[in-house]
Symmetry: C2
Subunit: 243 residues, 2 copies
């Protein structure tokens, strides 16, 4: 029998605002549920119960139908985000379906759980959480995930991304980069205020923080093979959801 997956949002096409395929035209599928509770989570509604009435239990086929309904023939790329979609053991049913439809698939997870279907993801972002999140990285687990991907020859489809709020986060990021020097590495400006509706002030603050992060990375000789990015969608739309 086909598995069901907890889906919170299907929207797009729009562009991916961050990470290894920043700017990519894509549809989004957001799954519910997370094993973390980051202090600054910008998707807390996926796990804090506040949107639990919006969760739909859908099969792979049903998610696809929703994608077509919303996106028509205007997409060839789907991004699965969460929450942590890596909690969903059978999500390979959905990634296989996308492959059959010749649609590329991106997925982001914090790296707390491995799934064999990671090997099917075209753009896999692993985003371990720095100290400011108040979460603790299980590096033994992360080693395992990266090793699996490396041994399967998938590293060209994989990146590591660390969100940075302060200097301690940047030290953490530097250590992650040194631990996995052969994995494409991204640092991203953290959004310190995921609630504000004052878009103009938020944009200014985020651009200033981006400049700070560029300066920090520029000054380091341990962060030479690095890409530094803001969240484009926050610059354009502030904290609005579903864009």
């Amino acid at each position: 029998m086909a598995s069901k997956f907890p889906v919170l949002e299907v929207f797009g096409p729009t562009v991916q605002g961050e990470g290894m395929v920043v700017g990519q035209k894509t549809m989004f599928v957001r799954t519910a549920g997370c094993d973390y509770s980051c202090s600054w989570c910008d998707s807390a509604f996926t796990w804090d119960g506040s949107a639990k009435d919006d969760i739909k239990q859908l099969t792979a086929e049903e998610i696809w139908n929703q994608l077509e309904e919303v996106g028509g023939d205007r997409f060839r790329h789907v991004t699965i985000s969460g929450g942590n979609p890596a909690l969903l053991k059978n999500l390979g049913e959905f990634t296989e379906l996308l492959k059959k439809k010749e649609v590329k698939v991106a997925l982001e997870t914090q790296g707390s759980r491995y799934q064999p279907w990671f090997l099917e993801i075209d753009d896999l972002t692993i985003s371990p959480k720095p100290p400011s999140s108040l979460m603790k990285t299980d590096f033994h687990r992360l080693d395992e995930i990266i090793n699996n991907l490396r041994e399967a020859g998938r590293l060209m489809h994989v990146s590591l991304k660390v969100v940075i709020f302060d200097e301690e986060d940047l030290r953490y990021a530097t250590n992650v980069h040194k631990r996995y020097p052969d994995v494409s590495f991204y640092v991203q400006v953290g959004n310190h205020d995921t609630a504000t509706l004052d878009d103009a002030a938020l944009k200014d603050a985020l651009l200033s923080k981006y400049e700070w992060l560029i300066d920090q990375v520029s000054a380091s000789n341990e962060l030479n093979h690095v890409r530094v990015l803001p969240q484009l969608h926050t610059l354009v739309w502030g904290n609005k959801r579903g864009v």
Copy 2:
């Protein structure tokens, strides 16, 4: 004897603000001279004579020394920009030197001229100019360039990028994308005012145009495998040079 190249600026490390390696930590080397004169050129000082006293004639070795002087041990990536660096027949002397130093190299050109050393570039951006530039694309030449790169198995190191100011530009971009469907394709928000010092107004205008461009691409079923990007450096620094 070692060739000399007309160099206008060596600066960094900073981040690449646009295109296929957007966000990449990099040094910049800007060469003088262009065979185009785009109406909205943001680097007109490279060819309009206004900076001709700043041009230094440097060998590959001398450019490298400048890079080390400015960037120390804080870089492993160099971006060559212009003007049109593809006018420089012997620039392979410099790209070979970078290879020897284990430094990655990116280069941008409008696609009016092929050079055999294109095959040595890690991130080659070919940026044909849309109607608003008032330039005319030689598609016969562009076909030749893309074919050479395709036959050499280099397409994973190549992208096409078109700067968009209006709907006519977007139609041009759509045709370029359809002509070379196997080449990574980027559209970028054009900067309509490369002179203003009013950074806040410029940022707002560019973010609005970015939103417009995302909407246009989202609405098209011919632009599904596309990445849509702003110029990050303009959002952060406005029209300031050398950052």
